[in-house]
Symmetry: C2
Subunit: 345 residues, 2 copies
DNA sequence: CTGAAAGCGCTTACAG
DNA sequence: CTGAAAGCGCTTACAG
């Protein structure tokens, strides 16, 4: 059975294909009587619009690419879903892929997206992606794109991220305020996010005359948090507080402490970054630096849509201000009991 | 600047566009000398393949649609990522969307995918999706598709899921074996998965002369688990064991118990379904019925690829056998201490 | 092994 | 307000 095309509809309604096209795109020039006749023919023939053919001719694809590293981090899930919802509403289809933090996979995904002629790309770069690489893939073909969350050196693209230095600083201040004197930082892959968080944390603590015990960079998973605590316990006395690279790691930290008979929040304070939904749903609830993935996603979508309209804009940067969600995991031990609510953006 | 096309490459290398096309598709008939000349011209001109144009002519799109409800459930994340990896390897681009369990959103996503002429669709149906609807969207246009995880009534499509009755039965047996006498089932939206799990659980318990206290159906989130426990506590004495609709709910259950000063695993046994990665990373580690999302994803991908090749196959069903991952959350109290390892598929 | 021509299903000027 | 013709960038028969 042959596919029904615009031509069949034209014949069935006694008009030209151009007129059918006008009706389909709801261009308001068509006379009402004609329009109704065409719509009836569409109904009758079971015609289905071929957006690919349309886009091919009109040089748009109404498709956007979205690459994140790994959805097993709830932070990335929030980000991806926020972007999907916004772009969906604007009529775009989303070509999505996961780089698994692997440059080779990332490159392959970008190639496919370029060959499929997406109108633009939102990219959370793999941890070792370079600006040169992005230029070769996207810059050369002049494809609108915006980077999120992770910076690359010498960027020449739009970027949306959070002020991680500020976030670290907020947390440092808070931990010092709560009377914690020895603080360790655990987990996280070497990245701009990690070094920024660490730097801010140091600055916040320093103002109170405190320093930081850094431990080795690892990954960003719960397993990494567990491993880091196991290593910490093997090494010697525990710190008063543990600041984790992110909430995923922090949740691993809480599990490992508990497994060792140490009550998180009570015996050792624990805090994380991102304020993923799970953070407020722990007991004790986890103090966390909120980094607003939904807002990052919304901003990134907006920037991309603007750039798709006109790609001659200078590179822009949107930096989201973090905030601290104070909860029981850092306040019980210090004695300053707080009934801080959860917050969601 | 004009886009470089196959025509430019043809001119630059002194052959016809047909020959360039043969080179691009690596059809092995082209003479080596010619091939090299064309490849050089591609390099020189900076030509980039337009897969959309190619697909349009050849009636394939090399694109597959994937719709899941909500990535905030780690089970769906595993599923989505497994499918992405398999199809990516086979050269397909993935158009992904989230229905948020909303039929209207699901329908819009399906429309877009159909209009974009995807080669096939993998769908995790929203909870109230009907077979009629799917037929109207997909059946009428003869679009290959496979349903996963949730059944719809009177299906006429390929389906991959897990044997939830069997899973419930395994858990019922285990809880009875461990000496738990009063058991409650908490959470979950009304769906085939829920009623199957419940039915199996009842059967397993019944063999040991035990019955089940069912509570109301809710959602499938941690919040739902917390709310269910709060209601349970308000109502009266706690059961020996709580079987949660899924691990998400079970984790909420553990949090709520702990917040009430009740130690999960020690004071009340807790178990879930799915064996998401977090399950084995809790303390106490969570007993869970493993439902193998990665395997479901892999099977679904295979079925879809086969159906894209030939769509006249009769509907097929693949039912994955669940297994029980026994951990401390159900074994400590019963005294039968088990050092069951974690398992991942 | 290579080329000339037609065609995939639309939209886009351009006429009228 | 509507139509005839050309064209988007490829692949597909068909010749030779």
């Amino acid at each position: 059975m042959k596919r029904v095309t615009i031509k069949d509809v034209a014949v069935a309604s006694g008009v030209s294909t151009a007129t059918v096209s006008l009706v389909l795109r709801e261009v308001p020039v068509v006379a009402d009587a004609t329009r109704l006749r065409v719509l009836a023919a569409i109904e009758r023939t079971g015609y289905i619009y071929d957006r690919r053919a349309a886009n091919m001719r009109s040089k748009r694809s109404m498709t956007v690419g979205l690459i994140v590293t790994d959805l097993r981090n709830p932070y990335f899930v929030e980000l991806a879903m926020a972007i999907e919802v916004v772009l969906q509403e604007r009529g775009f289809a989303l070509l999505q892929g996961y780089s698994l933090d692997d440059r080779v996979r990332e490159n392959r995904l970008l190639s496919v997206m370029v060959e499929q002629r997406v109108d633009g790309v939102v990219l959370l770069p793999a941890k070792d992606t370079t600006a040169d690489e992005l230029h070769a893939r996207l810059g050369v073909v002049d494809l609108p794109h915006v980077l999120i969350t992770r910076r690359v050196k010498a960027p020449i693209a739009d970027y949306v991220g959070v002020d991680n230095v500020r976030g670290g600083d907020l947390l440092g201040e808070h931990l010092a305020d709560q009377g914690h004197r020895t603080i360790a930082f655990l987990g996280g892959p070497r990245s701009t996010a990690r070094s920024d968080r660490l730097r801010g944390l140091r600055a916040g603590l320093k103002r109170h005359g405190l320093a930081l015990d850094e431990t080795v960079a690892t990954g960003a998973t719960r397993e990494d948090g567990i491993a880091a605590v196991d290593a910490l316990i093997a090494h010697g006395p525990l710190p008063d507080a543990i600041a984790a690279y992110n909430d995923n790691v922090a949740l691993g930290v809480m599990t490992a402490l508990r497994a060792a008979g140490i009550e998180p929040g009570h015996d050792v304070a624990v805090a994380g970054f991102d304020d993923i939904p799970e953070a407020s749903l722990q007991h004790p609830a986890l103090t966390s630096v909120a980094t607003y993935p939904r807002r990052v996603g919304a901003e990134a979508s907006t920037l991309l849509l603007e750039r798709i309209e006109r790609n001659d804009l200078a590179p822009r940067r949107v930096i989201i201000e973090p905030s601290l969600a104070v909860r029981a995991s850092t306040t019980v031990r210090g004695g300053v009991s707080t009934t801080s609510g959860s917050r969601r953006d």
